[in-house]
């Protein structure tokens, strides 16, 4: 079963992502902020990461930059799932190594479809 890591300081968003992707047949691990996400990605290899941007301790962009330096994560798809829609934020995400951007709230079917497309 493919592994997905969802990183968000909002428990409800983590639950939504888990609810959506578990139904689609993925095993979902949750992390409460960027620091927790980085640790969990380091401990267990995951196939895709979905992360929020604004989080305490370590934000999503910092986490992506750090994860990209971990062995085996150079090409792992990482999606930003955030309330932010400003172009400069997206640009920062892209530069840090994000694969895609989703403005909250997300469309469950489209999230599932894109995860299926990215995780083969």
């Amino acid at each position: 079963m493919k592994q997905v890591l969802t990183v968000d300081d909002s428990a409800s968003i983590r639950q939504m992502v888990s609810f959506t992707l578990t139904k689609a047949g993925y095993e979902v691990t949750e992390a409460v902020d960027g620091k927790d996400g980085l640790e969990k990605a380091g401990k267990r290899r995951v196939d895709l990461i979905i992360t929020d941007l604004n989080m305490p301790n370590m934000d999503g962009i910092q986490m992506i930059a750090a994860i990209r330096k971990l062995p085996g994560y150079a090409f792992t798809p990482i999606l930003m799932l955030t309330t932010e829609s400003q172009a400069e934020k997206k640009d920062a995400g892209r530069k840090a190594g994000a694969t895609g951007w989703i403005v909250k709230p997300f469309n469950a079917d489209q999230l599932t479809a894109v995860v299926q497309k990215l995780v083969k």
Binding site: S12, M16, T83, E84, G100, V103, K104, Q110, V114
Partner: protein
């Protein structure tokens, strides 16, 4: 600043900021509880959907759907069988009646032939007497006497044999005719009744079958609607992340206003430098809180609709349909058994009729042999007549008596010839009857009978499938009904989470009043606060930390005094932008 109404306003603003901070903690756990509650409902609902899907799948199988056409086919075959049976029975009756008449004619013929045989015997005796009287002269007629005697005995034996057979045949035919005459109205009546019953069964089966298809589909549609509503609630709750950030930023905005007011050296400074900013800042936070209130109201409506929908789900139609279908299957099985029993009865009758009709061939053979013998006798009689007349003429007046006998033989020969022709005609008629009987017997016993057998076997198989499907649906419907009850009892948890969430957010109402009061106090104390401040400066100050487009829109509406922007309640959500 610690003097005047300004300090009261600061206290109010700080109080509201603390309340919102507390709300953030409460709301997070309430939202988690709602998500868990609805996750549980989604799982229960998903199980019901799986059960209903299996029911719908089973009901939509061809083996179940085809029962209607099978019952209709059976009704049609039974109707056809009855029609053909009645027609064939009438045909057989006609044959039997015609044969009975023919047998009467044959009896009449044999009586006439018997009379001629007796006359021939008499002529033989007379010839013998005349031969004795003529002595040496009559020796040539000895042969005539012998031939006449021989013909008489041969014909008598043949007639006796034929008569015995025709009598026997007459008796068998009468029995067959009685059986068919008595059976025909009964067959007509039985099959008319079957046709009526099958027609009404067909209507009932059509109706229950429609229900069998409709009830699970309706139930599935209701459960799918609930699944959509649960997904809707779950999706709507996603917006909480935006709401949470809005709340955090309202708290931050209020702290900013209170902080700025606190650091003002005196009332004059407060009025001159910060008045418009404080007033506008409070208006912005009020707008944000009203926007949050509207979002919460939307959640409550959505959750309420979903919970009410769950309570309305009823599996009673689904559960009730199976006993109805089983009852109809039972009725149809009884009807089918009755048809099969009648069919067997008809097959038994067929054997008897076939036995009786096959006797016709024996009759034809016997009559044929008899006609052959009669023709032979006729030819010999003609020859004897011719020879005896020549011989008698040759002897002259001494053989007048013989001549008289010869004339009698000639007359007998003519009568015999006529009877032989009539026998031959009877033979032709028997032959026609045999052919007709063959054709009627085919119709009587083969094709329609076969069609009914096939239709009955097909219907029996269809009923078996229907029974299995009804049992399957019954079992799954009971599980779905139990699942529905579990789902309905699970709403208590989700409902409690909803109430907890609603209670948490009740603080917003009082917070809005406090902010309004604080704003009024500031504006009363410092009329300059009512003046519009530097819009750009205010926007920069309060939107610098905003993270959502929603907050920015609300801020712009607050600064322009426009209506509150509608929160994003759409379940469509945002799509993914891949880099």
């Amino acid at each position: 600043m610690t003097v005047g109404t300004g300090s009261e306003a600061i206290q109010k603003i700080e109080k509201v900021a603390r309340q919102i901070h507390a709300l953030l903690g409460l709301a997070e756990s309430a939202i988690t509880a709602v998500t868990e509650g609805f996750g549980e409902l989604a799982r229960e609902n998903g199980q019901i959907l799986n059960l209903v899907a299996s029911i719908v799948g089973r009901v939509e199988e061809d083996s179940v759907r085809s029962i209607l056409s099978k019952v209709a086919g059976l009704a049609e075959a039974a109707k056809g069988f009855a029609r053909e049976r009645v027609q064939a029975t009438s045909g057989i009756l006609q044959i039997v009646t015609a044969e009975s008449k023919l047998l009467d004619r044959l009896s009449e013929l044999t009586r006439a032939q018997r009379s001629i045989a007796r006359e021939t015997q008499t002529l033989s005796v007379l010839t013998n007497i005349e031969v004795a009287r003529l002595g040496q002269l009559g020796a040539g007629f000895q042969y005539l006497a012998h031939e006449l005697d021989d013909f008489s005995q041969t014909v008598t034996r043949s007639i006796k044999e034929l008569s015995a057979h025709t009598d026997e045949r007459k008796s068998a035919i009468d029995e067959t005719r009685r059986m068919l005459t008595a059976g025909l109205p009964r067959i007509r009546e039985e099959f008319a009744r079957i046709e009526t019953e099958l027609s009404s069964e067909l209507v009932a089966v059509e109706s229950s079958h429609a229900l069998l298809e409709r009830a699970p589909a309706n139930f599935r549609s209701a459960v799918e609607e609930i699944a959509g509503q649960i997904d809707g609630v779950v999706s709507a709750i996603q917006v909480y992340d935006i709401t949470r950030q809005q709340l955090e930023h309202v708290q931050h905005g209020l702290e900013l206003v209170a902080g700025r007011m606190n650091v003002a050296e005196d009332a004059e400074e407060l009025a001159l430098q910060g008045g418009p900013i404080f007033s506008s800042g409070l208006v912005i936070q009020s707008y944000q809180l009203r926007s949050i209130e509207e979002t919460i109201g939307h959640w409550m409506t959505r959750i309420g609709t979903c919970l009410e929908g769950i309570l309305r789900i009823s599996s009673s139609d689904l559960v009730a349909i199976c006993p109805l279908v089983l009852e109809q299957e039972k009725n149809l099985s009884v009807e089918l058994a009755h048809i099969e029993s009648l069919e067997r009865e008809c097959q038994k009758d067929n054997l008897e009729v076939q036995g009786a009709i096959s006797g016709l061939s024996n009759l034809m053979q016997l009559v044929g042999e008899h006609v052959e013998k009669s023709r032979y006798v006729r030819d010999r009689l003609q020859l004897l007549t011719f020879n005896s007349i020549i011989e008698a003429n040759h002897l002259g007046s001494q053989a007048d008596a013989i001549l008289e006998i010869s004339q009698s033989i000639k007359r007998v020969s003519l009568s015999w010839s006529e009877l032989t022709d009539r026998s031959a005609q009877a033979m032709v008629e028997i032959l026609e009857l045999v052919e007709k009987a063959k054709s009627e017997m085919n119709a009587f016993s083969s094709e329609e009978n076969g069609a009914l057998e096939v239709a009955a076997a097909e219907t029996a198989r269809g009923l078996g499938n229907l029974r299995e499907a009804a049992v399957f649906v019954s079992e799954k419907a009971s599980q779905a009904a139990a699942g529905t009850l579990r789902l309905q009892s699970s709403i208590a948890k989700a409902g409690a989470a909803r109430d907890r969430l609603a209670e948490s957010f009740e603080v917003i109402r009082s917070a809005l009043m406090e902010i309004e009061e604080a704003k009024r106090q500031i504006e009363n104390e410092y009329p300059l606060a009512k003046q519009p401040g530097d819009r750009h400066q205010i926007e920069m100050l309060f939107s610098d930390y905003y993270t959502t487009e929603m907050e920015r829109e609300v801020l712009r509406a607050a600064l322009s005094g426009g209506p509150l922007p509608t929160a994003q309640h759409s379940l469509e959500g945002n799509s993914v932008e891949l880099f």
